[in-house]
């Protein structure tokens, strides 16, 4: 195996963790926007500032741990299919409990269609805040360290 391929494989878990984090926040934001009164926390109406704060916070944090701009963009794009999985699981959760018999595919498409505005907002939010996170990373002078090594160092201090 060439060094380049090994290097990419080494980075894969980090990429998946960051994209998974962005996907989770996007999936949650979509579900909350579609079902605000049965979500958690439940509210009479979806709070757009709160949803934007969730997306912006996630985008900034992802930028802060991203290695470079190319990867930050990759995380944002990879987060979309993950968000689709998250929101689909949330939508079919009543069926998974066995309480209710519903047509799962209908439910999933319903949630995906109604959540479209949030998907449209998420990509620019992730891109802009991701770049802001990267800029903050540069400004703070952060460098990538294996997380376990960092934890070990923290315990020694």
């Amino acid at each position: 195996m060439s060094r380049d391929v090994r290097d990419r494989l080494r980075r894969l878990p980090r990429i998946l963790i960051i994209a998974g984090f962005l996907g989770l926040s996007l999936g949650y934001a979509v579900f909350e926007s579609v079902f605000p009164n049965v979500g958690f926390p439940a509210a009479g109406e979806a709070s757009l500032p709160l949803l934007l704060a969730v997306l912006a916070g996630a985008g900034f944090l992802a930028g802060l741990v991203a290695d470079d701009l190319r990867l930050a963009i990759l995380h944002a794009f990879l987060s979309f299919p993950i968000a689709l999985v998250v929101v689909s699981l949330l939508a079919v959760s009543p069926v998974l409990t066995g309480y209710v018999e519903l047509t799962s595919d209908d439910l999933v498409f319903y949630v995906l269609r109604l959540g479209l505005p949030i998907y449209l907002v998420a990509l620019p939010a992730y891109a802009v805040l991701g770049v802001a996170g990267l800029a903050a990373r540069e400004h703070l002078g952060l460098r990538s360290t294996p997380f376990r090594a960092w934890l070990r160092r923290l315990q020694h201090k």
Binding site: I17, I18, G20, F21, L24, S25, G27, Y28, F31, E32, F35, P36, N37, V38, G39, F40, P41, A42, A43, G44, E45, V54, G57, A58, L61, A62, L64, V65, D67, D68, L69, V86, L89, L90, S93, P94, L96, T97, Y99, V100, E101, L102, L114, L134, R137, E138, L140, G141, L142, R143, S144, T145, F147, W150, L151, R153, L154
Partner: protein, 227 residues
Amino acid sequence: MSAPRGLASSRRSDGVAWLALFVATGALLALSIGAAGNYASVMAAHGTTTVDAAFAVAFVGVDGDGNLTASGAVVVTASIGIDNPSPRTLRIRVLGYSGWIEDGPAAAGLNESRRVADDRLVGPSGTRYFYRAFAESFEVDRPPVGPGSNGTYAFTFNLNGIDNPVRFDPVRNITGYAGGVDGPAWNHWVRVQLAIDGVPPASSPTAAPYLRTIGRIEREEGINLVA
């Protein structure tokens, strides 16, 4: 944007940022699981709640021939049972009730205006005419039905000649024609609206219809002859 190798050693670790990311992931996971649980329990309440109704008709002020007197009354007692196997608390909010008495004089052609106005039940043996003696709909404030339990609520509907002569007189006419209060058949229909506790009502006037209805359960029992 990654730093050159020589420079990297002089930079700080991004471990704190990763820790923040893991904490945020945990918080988002907790919120998502909470949302799924909340949503699933509401849908379970929609899917599993059942309502049954039993009705008893009593007559007050019946003369020796079994006819209803002018000072008498018809009292219908509806016993509404709600079975709630879901993990949510339900609150009975609105009750609609209609009660029809089979209109013998109209069916025999003795009262043409009622024959035209009556509600009809078409069956294999022909058309039956029913006079709508009760038509009530009101908000209810009763103790809630807890998760995984059931409750029975009794409601009484009264029809007499003082409060509602327009409806009471035809009932007298019908029971008199039938030869007594026990003669005519009754048809009852009830609609129960239950509110699911902990589901805030949609606050925006432009909210989607599903957000307005997701917090309430509607059940009907009996045949609605008006529908």
